[in-house]
Amino acid sequence: MIPVLLIVIPLVSGLLAFLIKQEKNVKVWSLLTSLVTMVVAILGIAVFHKPEYLHTDVAWLPNLNSSFSLTMDGMSKLLCLLTGIAYPGIFIATWHSTYKNPHQFYALMLLMQTGLLGVFVASDALLFYFFWELALIPAYFLCSIWGGERRVAVTFKFFIYTFVGSLLMLVGIIWVYMHTPDHSFAMTSFYKVNLPGNTQGWLFWLFFLAFAIKIPLWPFHTWQPDTYEQSPTAVTMVLSGIMVKMGVFGILRWLAPVLPVGLWGYGDPAASMCVIGMIYASVVAMQQDDLKRLVAYSSIAHMGLMGLAIFVTSSIGIQGVMIQMFNHGINIIGMWIVVELIERQFGTRKMSELGGLAQQAPSLAIMLVVVSLANVALPLTNAFIGEFMMFNGVFSSKASNYHYIFMVVGGISIILSAIYTLNMIQKVFYGNTSSLTANARDIRVNEKFVLAVLLIGIVIMGVYPKPMIEATKHAVDAIYSKMFIKLP
């Protein structure tokens, strides 16, 4: 029941939002919807956590053995929660942003939420693919209509790029489906498939491409900085905070347990791409002057680490990925909120045009500094827990022969991330005020509220990660055991 509600509430409300013409009303409406969704997600995790509440299975396509089957299990819980929390946060934080045709904007935002939640709770491969694509369509329109100058071309590239990947994945899904013992799209059937090694090999690449483009892993990342830069910030938040997690989630749920041999066989090349990406993106981030691009590249680096942790196959690394998906979502949304506040106030995101904000807007500065620190994974922030576990997992992996090298080289990104993050803080907040920032004002109450909640979350999760680890523990064990059980 809970997962169905998670999908239906934003869907219905999103469709209704098309009809609400007043800006104020539609804002309130979407905020309320997102709050309700959040409450449902929290209820599902905290109150109604018995399987019967969290699992739904309705006949959908009997001829194909595909059912409308949704499960909120250990893996999806955190991501549902993230989506649930992120949306109200985004709506509140961007309350003062104005869009032309606000009803369309908010409706599409809610529809995108439907897609995202659907991806996370779908336990049927076909349904998963459905939602996977559905999340993309509203994103396409949101970016293309309300984005920056080069929005049309950039978003189009984003769309086609991800579309190519997902089509290849569709081929993979169908192939696996043909070889399931009971000819079914159900996740359980997918997990029972036992394909020969070389088949798994090329299937691995089909799935991998889709997820790698979405995450995005180097060298498939070039759509991402452009898209983030051009999208309206509220959308960027969803894209980077939640949507990119779809890729990681996809690997964990649909790639690793289904094609373990493929993963073992090609884990090293994939992991190498991740490591190169981590360093590469960090180095490139050092050169960025646009705040959005900087955060975008930093996100590439961080997502690379998640990929790395999965591809070298270690239990603790996967555990780290699970909680890092959540943490990274929170942190990067925080980051975007700050960027949005800066852009809205000064009309620029160029670091070279800013400066000295710490005097004028100390609260903003503090928020940014804390979020940035979480971004560089300083201990006692949430990101540290995840990164620690992931790096640890990489280091102690038994699946890869090069795991030491991966860890050490990947570790350099820790240093590089400090470099570009501190550069950013320095350029934006320190030094003397520029002509633009001379009369800056500090942030408003609603923005402060969201950021404060985020910060508290960041610290609490950084100090006491146990609940998150507990929540995902079984899912990790399940995946990990499947990754090993089918070894030839």
């Binding site: 590239k157 086609i160 790029y161 060298p219 990342h221 070039t222 759509w223 590469y280 180095v283 490139v284 050092m286 050169q287 960025q288 239990s315 603790i316 555990q319 780290g320 000295g356 710490a358 005097q359 100390p362 620190l373 300083l378 201990p379 006692l380 540290f384 827990i385 620690f388 576990m389 790096f391 640890n392 280091f395 102690s396 860890m407 050490v408 570790g411 350099i412 820790i414 240093i415 400090a418 470099i419 501190l422 550069n423 320095q426 907040f429 320190y430 030094g431 003397n432 100090v463 006491y464 990660p465 146990k466 680890i469 523990k473 990790v476």
Partner: protein, 639 residues
């Protein structure tokens, strides 16, 4: 209830102070801020003293607060370990910390309210992190504190954030530290990979120091080297020391607290804490000793030609930290810790003294524009002098005892270490008294206005000076060498349980005979006195005011190490970044991606020409395709 269970209170108080000052910094008046800030540290100090009395009786404890990370087989609790070593550090941190807080209240009085609050909030956060570092019962908690102090250091160096140079220095400090941190982190992973735990020691013998025998030789060398990489970052050793002199951009009390007394000694603490592992890896110890010695000498040479009062002290700190590592490297763990303690006293004293001078001189830091301050600032003068004597190693001041212990151990290990060490000691004496002489003796060389305003600092500043001076004088008696009085080395006995395991591994240590030891002491003191006299003679009347030339300029410019790093690392990295960003990313990768699109467009433009509009061509093409398919079917695929 066991008093030791209260250990969490120690970091708790500064944390509370941090939160209150941080959140209410605009609302609270400055006086209240300083009372909260200092008071919390004082409270910690009191608890530390309580704990210390308990520990002195031989009670130690590991206090588990909650599960921090627990995934799979890895269980890392958030736990504090209170034993001799940590309790000693607690006293230093909270004690010296309190004094410096007190001092800061006066020193920073000119700041605006919110910045004043910000300052104290950072400072409290620093104390909190440092306490985590030393209290942590496992490497991960230590690492948390480790990075935490790095952060506070960053924040405090960049406290005056309007100045880009200062913020650059802050950045540099953080990044340099991060390089070290990576080493530390890898070491932690290595330990986890091999032993499955990072807890130091447990009652059921499942800690790192209980299981160390499971480590192979490679493991232990690797782990200790990596830990040492971490230590070089935090404790400013070659090659990662360059951040520390720049860190003097922060307010002077910060330099005293963080960049002299406490944070920079974290590396020594870490190695002392891991003494068992290091004892298992003599190769690493040699590296530690060599690096330590090299740093000691290297920094000393630079310090000789510096003219910024804080820079001199900074290089002196680097140099002294080098001594501590030398001590660790030659196995004198107690000696190193001892030196940490005495150094905390006298270096804090010197920095605060310098701060007092700077305060008096209206933020003038160049010693060439000072001179003759002895009369105007009597308390500062006397306490500063005490600090100088202590650092120069003149008995019975504290520096003598600790330095001597290290040098004696170095002698036992390798005579070359000793000789080089003593050269360093001589240089220390020389540049400290050069500083002293140029600053306090001779004629005043500042502006009239400065002269007019010259006055002794307020009590809140002088009291810490006096207390620290007393400690600098008396601190040494905690570790009187055996030669003077058997069983008088209280510290060694106090710390013995901590180093017991390594002592067991090392087995019987060769002790110097008393004559040799007296001789060595005499030599070092004698040389130091000579160096002091030379310095006083040269600089008290005619200070060196011109710009140094020749070799002196090389020293004054710090051997051009910053430039070298800039040239070898920073520039290439920037260049690489630029190249990647402007060429590789845009032209190559994105070019490829867009190239596919362009290829489609291009082929579209070409392929559509097939559609020539002429029926004849169409039919011709159709016939040709038919031919081709016939060929495929009948000739190629003739099944």
């Amino acid at each position: 209830m066991n008093v030791l269970q209260l250990v969490w209170l120690v970091p708790f108080f500064p944390l509370v102070g941090f939160l209150i000052n941080g959140l209410l910094r605009k609302q609270l008046p400055k006086s209240l801020i300083s009372i909260i800030g200092s008071g919390m540290v004082l409270a910690s100090f009191i608890v530390s003293v309580l704990l210390f009395t308990e520990v002195k009786q031989g009670n130690t404890a590991v206090v588990n607060l909650f599960d921090f990370i627990s995934a799979g087989n890895l269980k890392i609790p958030f736990a504090f370990q209170i034993d001799q070593l940590s309790s000693l550090f607690l006293l230093i941190i909270t004690g010296v910390g309190f004094l410096i807080h007190l001092y800061s209240a006066a020193y920073m009085h000119e700041e605006r309210n919110e910045h004043f609050g910000r300052y104290f909030c950072y400072l409290n956060l620093f104390v909190f992190s440092m306490l985590l570092l030393v209290l942590g019962a496992n490497y991960l908690i230590m690492f948390i504190g480790w990075e935490g102090v790095g952060l506070c250091s960053y924040l405090l160096i960049g406290y005056w954030f309007k100045n880009t140079e200062y913020t650059n220095a802050a950045k540099k400090a953080f990044i340099m530290n991060r390089i070290g941190d990576l080493g530390f982190l890898i070491a932690i992973f290595w330990i986890i990979a091999k032993l499955g735990t990072v807890t130091y020691t447990t009652t059921d013998g499942a800690g790192v120091f209980d299981l160390y025998q499971k480590l192979t030789r490679t493991d232990v060398i690797g782990i200790t080297l990596l830990l040492f990489v971490g230590a070089t970052g935090k404790s400013a050793q070659i090659p990662l020391y360059t951040w520390l002199p720049d860190a003097m951009a922060g307010p002077t009390p910060v330099s005293a607290l963080i960049h002299a007394a406490t944070m920079v000694t974290a590396g020594i603490y870490m190695i002392a804490r891991s003494n068992v592992l290091y004892t298992m890896a003599p190769e690493t110890l040699s590296v530690v000793a060599a690096i330590g010695l090299a740093t000691a000498l290297f920094a000393a040479t630079i310090a000789i030609k510096q003219n910024d009062i804080k820079k001199v002290l900074a290089y002196s700190t680097v140099s002294q930290l080098g001594y501590m590592f030398l001590g660790l490297g030659v196995g004198a763990f107690t000696g190193a810790v001892f030196h940490v303690m005495t150094h905390a006293f006298f270096k804090a004293l010197l920095f605060l003294g310098a701060g007092s001078v700077i305060h008096a001189m209206h933020h003038e830091q160049d010693i060439r524009r000072m001179g003759g301050l002895a009369k105007k600032l009597p308390i500062t003068h006397i306490t500063f002098l005490i600090g100088c004597i202590a650092i120069a190693g003149i008995p019975p001041f504290s520096g003598f005892f600790s330095k001597d212990e290290i040098l004696a151990a170095a002698y036992t290990k390798d005579k070359l270490y000793y000789i080089l060490g003593i050269v360093g000691a001589m240089m220390t004496a020389f540049y400290m008294f050069r500083l002293y002489a140029t600053t306090f003796l001779g004629k005043f060389r500042g502006t009239e206005e400065q002269k007019h305003h010259l006055h002794e600092s307020p009590a809140a500043m002088t009291i810490p000076l006096i207390v620290l001076a007393i400690l600098s004088v008396a601190g040494g008696f905690l570790g009187v060498p055996e030669v003077f009085k058997p069983e008088a080395h209280w510290l060694e006995h106090f710390l013995a349980p901590v180093f017991a395991e390594s002592a067991r591994i090392k087995g019987e240590v060769h002790h110097l005979d008393h004559n040799t030891e007296y001789m060595l002491m005499g030599l070092s003191v004698g040389l130091a006195v000579i160096a002091i006299l030379v310095a006083l003679f040269r600089y008290s009347k005619k200070p060196e005011l011109h710009e140094p030339a020749g070799f002196g300029k090389v020293l004054a410019d710090k051997w051009y190490i910053d430039e070298l790093y800039n040239f070898v690392i920073v520039k290439p990295l920037n260049w690489l970044a630029k190249w990647l960003n402007s060429f590789f990313e845009k032209k190559f990768i994105d070019g490829l991606v867009n190239g596919v699109g362009r290829l489609v467009n291009y082929s579209s433009r070409q392929v559509r020409l097939l559609q020539s509009g002429l029926v004849g061509n169409y039919v011709l093409l159709m016939v040709l395709s038919m031919l081709a398919l016939f060929v495929v079917k009948f000739l190629l695929n003739s099944k």
